[in-house]
Amino acid sequence: MTFLSPFYLLLAGAIAVPLLIHLMRRRMGARVEFPAARYLARAEREHSRTLRIRNLLLMLLRVLAILAVALAAARPVARWVGSGHAPTAVALVIDNSLSSSVVENGRPLLDQFKSMAQGLLAQATPADRLWLVTIDGSVRGGSAAVLRDEIDRLQPIDGAGDPVLALSRAASIIQSAGLDARQVALLTDGQRTEWQHAPQLSNTQVLVYAPSTKPPVNRAVIAAEARPVRWTPRGAIAARFLATDSTTYRITLAGQTLSRGTAAPNEEVVVHTAPAERGWVDGTVELEPDELPADNVRHFAAWIGAAPGVAVAPGAGDFAKNAVDVLRGSETVANGNDISIITADDLAGLPALITAPADPVRLGAANRALERAGIPWRFGERRSGAAAVHGAGVDDVTVTMRYDLVAQAGAAAETLAVVGRDAWIVAGPRFVLVGSPLTPDASDFPVRAAFVPWLGGVLTERLVGEPGQALDTTPGVRLPRPRWADAIETADGQRTPLGETLDAPTRAGTYFLTRGDRRVGALVVNAPPEESALDRYTADELRARLRAERTVSAPNAAAWASLAFRAAARRPLVGPALALALLLIVIEALVIGARARRAA
């Protein structure tokens, strides 16, 4: 038993009054001359036992009545008896992740959760403190009426949310509520992929409900991407599907249907195209709606532009010239002077793929040319001997001659490949710098099969058009602000300036990043593919995963409401204490009344 107002227990000191009256009553009262006092003494002598018992009973009744009143004033709560429930801090956690929008028995699961949550709020009293925590960690506090409105407006998010964050916040707010009775009430579909990790909830009681029904078979688009992200203008869209049999898909680009088809289970669908659109465009890969429609669409973004014209300087070597010819043949690049592939000592302008000069004598001229072009890197000491290269698309390359790439003050370039701890290929705005000549005597990179794709990627991804890229993320994730963008454009065209961080919207879709008036990139928000796997934990498995002080699982929706506050199980004893006090006073009055009637 605990007390909400323990200070009032001091009222119990008032029991001294009946005790003193009982003990001192023999010394109280006026002296009265009474000749027949001997009869009185005899009467008391002969009836002393009865009188003593009755007086003791009256004293006990009065002491107990005072104790009961003091007890009621201290607002006791206990686990075992009482009516209603103690003032309780309840954090209602509703799993409104994408998977909760699955339709079961003709009704979205989230709607069932909302009904159950309303039932819990209907049992709340004004003394309770209530919060609504959604699976993305958002917290709303207020009265039951306010939370009812919030629940009515609650929609599923297009992601998995962060159940660890949500439960941690729920536990934190109820523990800071200042009430002894605390309860986290969790409504979730128990999705396995979502509850792989669970928080440590010490000192927290959790009431959890997870449906025991088997989830429906789900079909979903689990991957959709533009390959490459920058189309010149040819590109491809790759998609994968979660399905148990063949499924029909549709691919759209810039709102237009680009392709329709049927994919086999686990098959990757790749659709090549060379659309007429230019700039950053959005697209979707869609399936026919099923019981979980939210994952039947997946978004992607692509930059589409004309093939850049590439000029290969004679000093860049034959291997570079031949590779560009191959790229021209595939219409990845074209003839022109948009981008140059050139040795550093011949560098005249950007953008350019810059290689180290083959002759060490030209090293000074090369560094001066880099300085003129504003590139914050210089060639340093010449290194000989075979060394392995590590980097995207260049693994297994062996370098035999290279120059150290020395960063200058303010260098903010990206290192694409390293030899040991030394940078070998670095990139920056409108340049890619290689620490060796693209010749077989310096490295075997030019003769590697990976050289042409790598070169195509560098020319079309890094050296063409505006700086910028497509950022893939999931709903609600906080990202560092991309330096090449200053605002984000919503679906309705509204632009919101970026802060120090970029919070991904909770709705799936493609959100363009802009710089000034121009689109320079895209934020592609999609649910994590795992969210489409609807396999569930059983109630016992889920209870085991929630490492709380005490976890009670409701076996069905009907039991939820009755367990909602009973799980806290601390009920107020004010009413029973007052009833006890009243009963004791009535008994005392009856005893006195009986005595008075007999005396009369």
């Binding site: 109280m28 009262g29 000749p35 006092a37 009185l40 005595r595 007999r598 005396a599 009369a600």
Partner: protein, 315 residues
């Protein structure tokens, strides 16, 4: 009939009657009222019980010649009456301090303040009763004496039937008393000594004394052939405790203090008083002694009738 009863002083409220005058006057009124209840005229009928006829002898009072018989049979006979009286009575009055108390200071249950305040003390009631009883007996030509006692004999008036005896008794009743204890044994022995032949003893007391002592004295009185009547005077507040709350009750004689809650002990006290009265009644009854409990709120006619009835049973 109602008007007749209303005029009888022996049926008046004792306190109201006592407020009208001194003991002597009040006693006369009481006895006059009492005799009105017994006879048509209080001046006729005393000791006129017809016994037999005897022949007239010279010197006999001519008032007692039966003229009807003389006229019818020409024979002079005289009506012979019983002797007027030869009773010697002694009234033994307890004047201890416990008698000088009334429940006026305490309010009895159900009594108004006015009723309680108008009550006589037990002593005042007993004195008026003793005066009236003495007068009544003297009018029967009985010899009446008085013994007043507390822890010792205060007054002893030998029984006489002569004129002026009642005035002496009344004067004795006006003497102070109210000692700290009651020594009934000594007083009763003194009363017995005052009566040199078989007679009547009337003890008027609140009996707040040791029963053994009284029993011993009573046995002595009965042994010599005295008829004894005990009038146990009690204030109504001694029968039923007043409805006050907590109090420390003090016996003015023994200084015995009993703290008590009236509500707690009222029933037990009433039962105890009933037991005590029963014990007195049993003890005295076993000795052939008449016993009557008299409340100080009862009209004087009630105890007077008891005492007179006891007298009438005597020769």
């Amino acid at each position: 009939m109602e008007s007749t009863r209303a005029l009888r002083a022996d049926l008046f409220d004792p306190a109201s009657l006592a407020a009208l005058g001194r003991i002597e006057i009040i006693a006369r009124w009481i006895v006059d009222g009492f005799m009105t209840g017994l006879h048509r005229s209080p001046r006729k009928g005393f000791s006129v019980e017809f016994a037999e006829y005897r022949p007239y002898l010279p010197g006999d009072d001519l008032r007692y010649i039966d003229w009807k018989i003389a006229a019818r049979s020409d024979r002079w006979v005289v009506r012979q009456y019983e002797e007027e009286t030869n009773l010697r009575a002694s009234i033994v009055l307890d004047v201890s301090r416990s008698m000088d108390w009334s429940g006026a200071a305490l309010r009895t249950a159900g009594a108004s303040a006015g009723e309680a305040a108008a009550r006589l003390t037990k002593l005042a009631y007993a004195e008026r009763l003793a005066a009236a009883l003495a007068l009544l007996l003297l009018r029967q030509r009985d010899a009446v004496g008085l013994v007043r006692f507390d822890e010792r004999i205060r007054t002893a008036v030998a029984p006489r039937a002569r004129t002026g005896q009642w005035r002496r008794i009344v004067s004795s009743l006006e003497e102070p008393g109210a000692g700290r204890a009651s020594s009934a044994g000594i007083a009763l022995q003194q009363a017995a000594r005052l009566i040199n032949r078989r007679g009547m003893v009337v003890l008027i007391s609140d009996l707040l004394m040791e029963m053994d002592e009284v029993e011993s004295a009573m046995r002595g009185l009965r042994a010599v052939g005295h008829d004894v009547t005990v009038l146990h005077v009690m204030d109504p507040a001694e029968r039923d405790l007043p409805s006050s709350g907590e109090a420390v009750f003090v016996d003015p004689e023994s200084e015995l203090t009993v703290p008590a809650s009236v509500a707690d002990v009222r029933v037990a006290y009433r039962n105890t008083v009933d037991e005590v009265i029963g014990e007195w009644r049993s003890m005295l009854g076993s000795l052939g002694i008449a016993y009557e409990v008299i409340g100080t709120d009862a009209p004087f006619g009630v105890p007077l009738r008891r005492a007179f009835a006891a007298r009438q049973q005597l020769p």
